[in-house]
């Protein structure tokens, strides 16, 4: 059904009728109708409309292009001065960034010196931990919602999932910093643990563990929404086929439905990952904002209680320095460029992974 073939073949007399009447007659009847407004009220030609709407749509493409270009241009000095060592380790990244505030308006090459490894490690660690919690959790709850929940419970849960998805990150951050951080700092972290790290880092409770836990709560609704949609779209006949072969409902779900939507699961994980990588405000509130690299050799529990800093949260933490020193600006824009780049790669990846699903008509 190509809609272009349905387009009106003749210049319709009805539609063009007002155009033939003099514009003054159209405008006279209206109190506010200036000549421009009257012209707008007259029927547009299709060619003009196509051009106008098409240009508006093109504006969005241009904005995205401008975003990539502008962020890249602003990040360029840092990237050229540091090269690939930018992502390496060496020195304390917090000090390096703080030092940039004092640099001049025409910074020398040494002013751009930054080694962002702790931030990269922190970003990957918090995202990885959050995904490790959120992926199985959202798989299980999607199965529950689609296959096992009674109708009323299903309605309530989908309402709550939508609610969880729309709670602002600052509220998650507030609950984290007021409830979870003190709880971890006062009850879960023991005094010997605090003492063992004296001189290295202070264990207040603001930690990678709390950040990852809240991050998991934040990305679970996105994943549940995507996975349960895909699960519900699996053709019923496939499920019934499995049931007819004598397996029970859960086996049928695991063996048939879940297998059929594997691409959707990966895509949902990629999108959730992009969200977790870019979360700034909540992490800046609950993670201690110290670019400490949590060390697993301190013991697993202490490891989770150590503070961390991510790319996104360090942009928020340093936002007051924007516009002051070019070196600092450029460094923060280079962090943003990395986030932007990974977000684009993840969303394109999610799209490509989901392509095979289009072959089954029912599974979108």
């Amino acid at each position: 059904m190509d809609r272009t073939q349905i387009a009106p073949p003749i210049k319709a007399p009805l539609a063009s009728l007002p155009a033939q009447t003099p514009p003054s007659r159209l405008a006279r009847g209206r109190v506010d109708g200036g000549p421009l407004l009257a012209r707008l009220r007259r029927p547009w030609s299709d060619r003009l409309a196509n051009l106008a709407l098409g240009t508006t749509s093109l504006l969005t493409c241009l904005t995205v292009g401008a975003m990539v270009a502008l962020v890249a241009v602003r990040a360029w000095p840092t990237l050229t001065h540091n090269g690939l060592a930018w992502l390496g380790s060496g020195g304390e990244v917090d000090r390096q960034i703080e030092g940039m505030v004092a640099t001049s308006n025409h910074p020398s090459a040494s002013a751009y010196h930054v080694r962002a490894w702790p931030l990269l490690y922190g970003t990957l660690l918090s995202t990885g931990l959050a995904l490790a919690v959120a992926v199985p959790f959202s798989l299980l709850s999607s199965i529950f919602i689609v296959e096992f929940a009674p109708k009323l419970v299903r309605k309530v849960i989908s309402l709550l999932v939508r609610l969880l998805a729309s709670v602002p990150s600052v509220i998650y951050g507030l609950v984290g910093i007021m409830v979870l951080v003190p709880f971890v700092g006062n009850h879960l972290v023991t005094i010997p643990e605090k003492r063992s790290l004296i001189g290295t880092v202070e264990l207040t409770g603001a930690s990678v563990g709390v950040a990852a836990l809240i991050l998991a709560v934040m990305i679970t609704p996105i994943m549940v929404a995507l996975i349960s949609d895909a699960l519900a779209a699996v053709p019923n006949a496939w499920r019934e086929g499995a049931l007819a072969l004598g397996v029970h409902k859960l086996r049928a779900t695991l063996a048939v439905s879940l297998r059929a939507i594997r691409p959707a699961i990966v895509a949902a994980t990629a999108l959730a990952c992009a969200r977790a990588l870019g979360e700034a405000v909540m992490i800046s509130m609950v993670s201690g904002s110290t670019s400490f690299a949590p060390n697993i050799s301190h013991g697993p529990l202490t490891f989770l209680a150590e503070p961390v800093r991510t790319f996104a949260s360090s942009i928020v933490d340093n936002h007051e320095g924007f516009g002051g020193a070019p070196a600092l600006d450029s460094t923060l824009y280079s962090f943003a460029l990395l986030l932007l780049f990974s977000a684009i790669v993840l969303s394109i990846g999610a799209y490509l992974i989901k392509l095979p699903l289009r072959r089954y008509q029912a599974v979108r």
Partner: protein, 331 residues
């Protein structure tokens, strides 16, 4: 006779949970547990914020200006942030609404004809998808970079030394329109796609042009989808923190105009919104008065709940009033 008493379908190993393998029983248990845990987490957050809100929210907080002060109880309320949130929402939606609706209408109604148009339509769709996936902190500093350009200097405030800072309500609102655009676009597009092709054919048969069909027939019939998208966009804007902190400057709790012109200079000035007020008054920020942070966060959560409710109401009303569901319930 004994045989017919047996049910027709033999009760096999799979019919009762108790006959399942232990591993499957555990998985089922975990699935129930996960579902219930999800409810509990959502319930706990709402109830906790509700309790704190009723504990700390006093009506006078809503109508007094914030003041810098040590005393938590005496240092003003959050009238300015409330106004700030409203202004940001207005500016953001005023830009995103026409953009989103026009782009969706063009893609669905014009984007099919010809190879060039199809390519362009795909390009537009994927760029909006990229915007949807971009972290808001990146969008925030992109907005800052745009409004720091010399050309757009008059739209934002300046520092003491006369450098364009890029901080203003106009800058923040325009940046906000980017995060409101994807849900608006998606809802409108799905609504248009759900309108049966016969509706268009009928309009064409009456001699309407394509654009007349869009204006007189299609847009009115997807009004509820547009409303849903707008509501989702508003709830994105109301809940966004990073853009407010970076582009509107969290440092100033009061909305400060740059000059004496009544409205324009306020829009060019800096200020705060509810989210940045919560951030600034939490222990993470400078104000450090948690009771006010709780009160403002409660108001913020109320807004979000109400907006969520509106989305649900629109969807339900629409399904009842028209035969086809126009994609109104997406996240």
């Amino acid at each position: 006779m004994e045989v017919t008493a047996q049910p027709l379908v033999a009760r096999g190993r799979g019919s009762s949970i108790w006959g399942w393998r232990l591993r499957d029983q555990l998985i089922l248990l975990a699935a129930w547990g996960a579902g219930i845990a999800l409810c509990l987490i959502a319930g706990a957050i709402v109830i906790y914020m509700g309790v704190r809100g009723f504990q700390f929210l006093r009506p006078d907080l809503l109508v007094t200006h914030p003041q810098a002060g040590v005393d938590q109880n005496g240092a003003g309320g959050f009238l300015d942030p409330l106004v700030g949130t409203a202004v940001l929402t207005l500016i953001g939606i005023a830009i995103a609404l026409p953009l989103g609706v026009c782009a969706a209408a063009w893609i669905v109604e014009y984007g099919q004809g010809g190879r060039a148009r199809q390519t362009l339509a795909r390009l537009v769709e994927s760029s909006i998808e990229i915007v949807a996936g971009t972290p808001d902190i990146v969008i925030a500093i992109f907005g800052l970079a745009v409004f720091q350009l010399g050309l757009l200097g008059p739209l934002s405030s300046r520092s003491e030394s006369g450098v364009v800072t890029g901080h203003s309500f106009i800058a923040a609102g325009a940046t906000m329109s980017l995060i409101a655009l994807p849900p608006l676009f998606a809802a409108t597009r799905e609504g248009l796609q759900a309108v049966p092709v016969q509706v268009r054919e009928a309009a064409f048969a009456l001699g309407k042009t394509r654009i007349a069909t869009i204006r007189r027939v299609l847009i009115p019939s997807v009004r509820s989808s547009i409303a849903t998208g707008t509501t989702l966009g508003i709830s994105r804007i109301v809940g966004d923190t990073a853009i407010v902190i970076v582009v509107l400057a969290e440092g100033a709790p009061r909305n400060e105009p740059v000059g004496s012109m009544p409205i324009l200079d306020s829009l060019r000035g800096t200020g705060s919104a509810l989210t940045s007020f919560v951030y600034g008054n939490s222990p993470a920020g400078e104000g450090n008065s948690p009771t006010k942070a709780y009160a403002a966060a409660f108001v913020l959560l109320l807004f979000i709940l109400v907006l969520n409710g509106i989305v649900g109401l629109i969807a339900r009303a629409h399904v009842r009033s028209s035969g086809f569901d126009a994609g109104a319930g997406q996240l």
